[in-house]
Amino acid sequence: MKTPLSWLRDFAPFDTSEVSRLVTTLDELGLVVEGVEHVGEGLGDVVVALVEGVDAIPGADRIRLVTVDAGQGPLEVVCGAQNFAAGDLVPLAPIGAVLPGEVEIRRRTMKGAVSNGMLCSARELRLSDDHQGILVLNDVEGARPGVPLTDALGIDEDVVFDITVEGNRPDAWSVAGVARDLAGKLGLPFTLPDPAPAPDLGKPVEALASLEIEALDLCPRMVVRVLEGVRVAPSPRWLARRLLLAGMRPINNVVDASNYVMLELGQPTHPYDLDRLGGAGLLVRRARRGERLVTLDGVERTLGTPGRGLGDTGEDCLICDADGSPVGIGGIMGGAASEISGSTTRVALEAAYFSPMAIARTSKRLGLRTEASARFERGCDPWGIDRAVDRVCELVGAPSATGKLDVRGAVPEPERIFVSSRRIGAVLGVDIDVARAASLLEPIGFGAEPGGEGLLVTVPTNRPDIRPAPYGVEDVIEEIARTYGYSQIPRRQPAWPEPGGLTQHQRDRRLVADAMCGVGAYEAWTPSLVDDADHRAMGLFGPSVRVSNPIVKEEAWLRRSLLPGLVRALAWNANRRQGDVRLFEIGTVFSHPDVEGRGARGGSGGTQEAVLPAEHERLAAVLASAGDDARHAVAVWRVLADALRLEAVDVVADGSIPGLHPTRAARLVARGHGGSTPIGALGEVDPEVAAAFGYDGGRVGWLDVDLGLVLDPGVALRRPSEARTISRFPSSDVDLALVVADGVPAAQVQAALVAAGGDLLESAHLFDVYRGPGVPEGHRSLAFRLRFSAPDRTLTDDEVGRLRQETIHAAQEATGATLR
């Protein structure tokens, strides 16, 4: 909100020499100053000049040589504008003048003509947006050659604060509101002058117009005043200038007065051309379902239709003429038909208090947000209406009918809230005595009567952010804190006996990420919002969860796998000659509730059970360093499993895992307490899938596990944490080369050996795989090293020999392996 200091000074004597203190104070009040603009500066050198003659410059048709007199004799100036002639008064910026925007005027020569200054447009002087021609000052009282322009126009230098007002402070979203807060904090007197009565038309308002409200719940109060003999014309210069400084374009005296009052007091008003209102009056009612209206912006709006949002029943407050024809959407935007025009002479001036939530719903549903709707939805002062309409009448200055039409339903009255001193201390942690609290609240419009170890606070009706008790107590305490100064509240470091810390899952997740870094992988962060086509491209069919309002269609679905994002990240790096890389990610994937969902409180008031997507935290890695393949994926998995002390996770070949190379992929299956659970997959990304996501740099090792399962010790068993005594006796190795058919997984052979080895088996490692001469076609030789030891003795050769026979036998039985 652009707020000129001169306007603020209408309400309190702020010191114009202390701009930075004002800015600091506003910030402390939560009225944050985003910018400070010094206006009217740079006009000091500009003077009024009389045009004495205009001559053509030989060879130039766009510029002319103008002779002016600014009280010091004739001066020649080259000018491109054509909108003036000899005898006109114009602004002259002489040589050496510095105009707003640091434009310095120098002596220039154009087409051989010397220009000794510049004649200025209104825009060049930052007085308005007008750049059609030179600002002609003939009508300006006091404009005489040689008079400083600022004197002639009555312009003072001014400072404009760009203030952001929080959404809960509609009262401060006005010049007077800012002045009230600021004056209160600075201890300056704040006055809100009563509008001077407009000339009396001598007719009662009831004789000229009517007002009826059918929908008192949507519009609890409306006031109408009638003006006659209105002459629609440009606004007075001071008023137009203030509107411009506030960032609003002047239109005509009636509309400008309405806008001026909205900026000044925060209350929107709406002027209608009374002669264009059927039945000479207003009727406020609910819009009928599907009713249509063309608003001022030329858009046809469909009303009375329930929207998408929770609890939106599609109620719209419609302002109609007395015949029932819509003339505007209440509190949001008027219709085109009853607009003020150049021929308007009789004006019905309306101001209302609308239900804030009704305005918010209608505004949201129509996607129509206006200066008025933004104020009404935050809540205007239902008892500030009278001052606002009177102020508009004062500014328009036309004769007004006696009295007002005023229809009221249930209009909010001032709330009274008891705030105990104990509660103030309990919330703020600082003792602010009752008298002090009262002295903080009263200057900003609250009533505060000390008594009963607290304050009985009367909340002004311009503060809809202060709720009724009991919650309003906190709202009042916030006002006390705000005006007391947040920086004045002492700081205390709280302490409590309960220890902080991470959960086991959180610690394990860190361990997993660290282990992944340890195998040379960089952590990535890929998009959660993807294109569903990505799922299909990797062979993931079935439903995905769609975003109703995506920014782009490529980011319109919740991801079901980390694979597309990670392969894309790989491609991104490969395309930048960084293809030798391993990446991992720990992130959430989502299932459609039709496949797997979870229940949660939902619906209006949280009273219903809603079904949401199941979410799974997954760890996935793409391995694309030189030589990386499915083997390396296994290696990485083993490092990870070892870091977590996992045992009993099987690698089970599976050619149907979406996105993976069908003959180089396996599931990870944990044998836990509750049976076998698939916890992930590993192998290689199917080269066709990798290509679909832009990567064609060779084999890509892949590991993907559900962290929730992997880190659940009931699902994925861990080696016991109890210390195992290391045998002090020498161990004995047995190397076995077993010839096994290709179709038999090595893991199966190893499992048989381990089972047969029993307690004396310390470790079993596959250390060589051989195919070739000496081994039958379709078979390979798997070389295992079994290490045996006993905790209490050195194993004898006989014992070791027997263990060797038993393990060989077990492998033969289980897998058909033969000793090579």
Partner: protein, 350 residues
């Protein structure tokens, strides 16, 4: 030939053999030859048996001296040879440790890195854990209740425009959202756990904003919630200050100014000393020396009511800020989009 002469010959020959050995292996052989059971020395010793006792004692003494001398000689020779062999070995092994190729390095071992956001998240978590907080997490898709209504933001409330929300095509329109903050975790926590509560909630959040240098539609936030007996605004201000100096450094401080959030009352915006200019004033902080970091406030009693906590018995505070933003401030990252690009040239810097 007298015995003594013969002895001297044996000694001379043996010494020659030992001294002329040019390797430790040759020396070992020579030692066996001149000192072993089959050596001339041993044979001379055996011959002593034929002498009379007087002579035998004298000759024995001489032979013993010779053996002692030869053994010392062998030891000396062994030391010299060992030193030479080690010197030769060292020379053969000589390696320029600066000529290791990158390929060789990669083939041995390399370490990846945590994403900067994850590093930052850990660091933030650790600061709060040290202050006595636990870490709570929750789902990213939420109902309107958890993301808004329980937080005192009723449907269609104008304050909803503070969050540009992604809705999901599930259930009734606009009833399921991608969480716009991690505050729903606070609601879950208060629903599930009786006070006291002292927790921070890190996690991924979503807002329907086009990505630019300062915003990402998908970003990370960490919030904090304390609900306990006797918790006040002073505790909030103290906690924020402790965190600020712990995370950013002793010369970075915090200040609070009034703000508005529907779920806190009083509400405050947190500003911290500008990390670029350290408070002197620069372009980033518009010359003020302060930059906005977070929002915070005392938990609104309406929020307590929604989760069934008695606001007369318990008070609390909450705060929230961007993890990505902290990383951006700490590491002076000009464009936040770099965080989501996954370019390893970026990732390996941190």
């Amino acid at each position: 030939m007298t015995g003594t002469v013969r002895f001297a010959e044996i000694e001379r020959d043996a010494a020659d053999a030992l001294v002329s050995a040019t390797s430790l292996a040759a020396l070992a052989e020579a030692q066996t030859a001149v000192l072993g059971k089959r050596s001339a020395l041993a044979s001379a010793h055996r011959d002593l048996a034929a002498l009379d006792p007087e002579e035998r004692r004298a000759a024995g003494r001489v032979l013993h001296e010779i053996r002692t001398h030869l053994e010392a000689l062998a030891a000396e020779r062994a030391a010299a040879l060992a030193a030479r062999e080690r010197a030769e070995m060292l020379d053969r092994d000589r390696l320029d440790l600066t000529e290791v190729t990158d390929d060789e390095v990669r083939s041995v071992i390399r370490r990846g890195r945590l994403h900067l956001v994850d590093q930052t998240r850990r660091e933030l978590e650790d600061v709060f854990v040290a202050m006595g907080f636990t870490v709570a997490e929750g789902p990213e898709a939420e109902t309107d209740w958890y993301n808004f209504e329980a937080l005192n933001i009723p449907p269609a409330h104008p304050a909803r425009s503070m969050w540009d929300t992604f809705y999901l095509d599930l259930g009734q329109p606009e009833t399921v959202v991608l969480r716009t903050h991690t505050s729903p975790v606070q609601v879950h926590l208060m629903e599930e756990q009786a006070p006291p509560v002292h927790a921070v909630m890190p996690g991924r959040c979503y807002r329907r904003e086009t990505a630019d240098a300062r915003h990402l539609p998908v970003f990370h936030q960490i919030e904090g919630l304390v609900v306990d007996h006797g918790i006040t605004f002073a505790d909030l201000a103290g906690t924020i200050e402790t965190f600020t100096t712990a995370y950013f450094g002793a010369d970075i401080h915090s200040r609070l100014r009034p703000g508005y959030f529907p779920f806190t009352d009083p509400s405050a915006e947190v500003e911290v000393t500008c990390t670029i200019c350290r408070g002197k004033g620069c372009r980033t902080c518009s010359g003020t020396g302060w930059v906005e970091l977070a929002g915070c406030g005392m938990v609104d009693p309406a929020v307590f009511a929604a989760v069934g906590i008695d606001p007369q018995e318990w008070t609390g505070f909450a705060f929230g800020f961007g993890i990505d933003r902290c990383a951006q401030m700490r590491h002076l990252i000009a464009d936040t989009r770099a965080l989501a690009e996954n370019d390893v040239r970026f990732l390996r810097q941190f």
